[in-house]
Subunit: 159 residues, 2 copies
Amino acid sequence: MEDLRDDRDSWSSENCSVARAMDIVGSRSTVLIMREALLGTRRFDDFVRRVGVGEPAMAARLKEMVAAGLLERIPYREPGQRTRHEYQLTRKGRELLPVITALRNWGDTWAADDAGPSIVATHHDCGEPVRAVLRCAAGHEMADGDIDIAAGPGLIRRG
Amino acid sequence: MEDLRDDRDSWSSENCSVARAMDIVGSRSTVLIMREALLGTRRFDDFVRRVGVGEPAMAARLKEMVAAGLLERIPYREPGQRTRHEYQLTRKGRELLPVITALRNWGDTWAADDAGPSIVATHHDCGEPVRAVLRCAAGHEMADGDIDIAAGPGLIRRG
DNA sequence: GGGCTGACTTGCGTTTGCATAAGCCAGCGA
DNA sequence: TCGCTGGCTTATGCAAACGCAAGTCAGCCC
C-alpha cells in the first residue's frame, strides 16, 4: 500500500473535500450557528442572541445555510400567534456534529480559559464524556502516526 | 443528569471552546494549510503551490499560525544549500487531525464531485479507511441522538 | 384599523482576506 | 563580485464579512 505523502507532487488537491467543506461551513458565524442549531436553537432571534452576531449578518448566514441544505425553513404556528418560520437541521447539517465536537475537544484542550470547558457532551446511556476520535472500519482506534494516505477514485494525478 | 439544552437561556456561550477554536483555525486558508501540513508539507513555496493562495497571504497566515503555536519555524540546511526555514507541526497543530478528518468525511459525503473522494486515510496496520467518529470514555460509539449536554466547570450561568 | 411584535431588510462605514505585481535580501556557486 | 534562487515583503485594490442604526412588513389582538 503506497502512501501518497511520499510523492506529494504527483497529485493535486484540486478535488479536495476539505476545501469544499470549508466553502460551505468555513466562516466563524456559520460554525457558531451550527453549534447553536445542534444545541436545539431554531428561531431567528434566539440565534441572534445566542450566537452574538447582528441581525443582518444572521439573516444572510441563515439564507446561505438554507440554500446549502444545512437548515430547512419550516413554517410553524403557536396558538394565538401568527405563522412564523423556524430553522431545522437537515441530515446534512446534523452530520456536522463530529466536526463541531472535534473542534470543541480541541478548543477545550488548547484554547480553554482557566475555568475549564463550559459544556461537556456525554453519552446518554452511560454519562461518560464524548469525544471525536479516529477509528478505522475494522474498529481500531488510532493516533495520527498510524495513518496512511491512499488514492481515492477522484484523485487527479499529474505528469 | 440534567440536559442543558432543556433550558438553553439559563447559560451563556461566552466561554465557548468552539468559538475560541474558530478564532484560531477559522479561516479557509488556515484549514487548508493544516491539511497540507498534516500531509507532510513543510516549505513555504510548497505551501503556496499546494494550497493555492498567493505568497503574501501565505506569509501572513504562516506567521499567525506560528504565533498561535500550530507550527514551528525551524532552520534546516540541505548539503550545498544555504540555511532555510521549514514549518513543522507542533503537538497543538497535529491534534487538529480529528477536525480535518471529520471535515473531509463530511465533504466526501455531502460535497464530493461525481468522481468521488480524491484521497482516503487508511489504518496503517489493516488498510481499512479511517473516519472521525463520536465515542464516549466508556468505549461506546454513538450517533447524535445519544448525546446529552452537561455542565462543565467553566459554565457561565445566568440570573 | 391601529398598535405591537418577531422577523427581517436597508444603508453605511470598517475590517479582514485575498489577488496581482513588483521589489528586496541572504548567501552559495562560479 | 555577480547572478541566481528561495523566501519572503511592500504596494495597491477589490470583495466579502460584520457591526450599528434605522426602517419595513405581516398579521394577530383589541
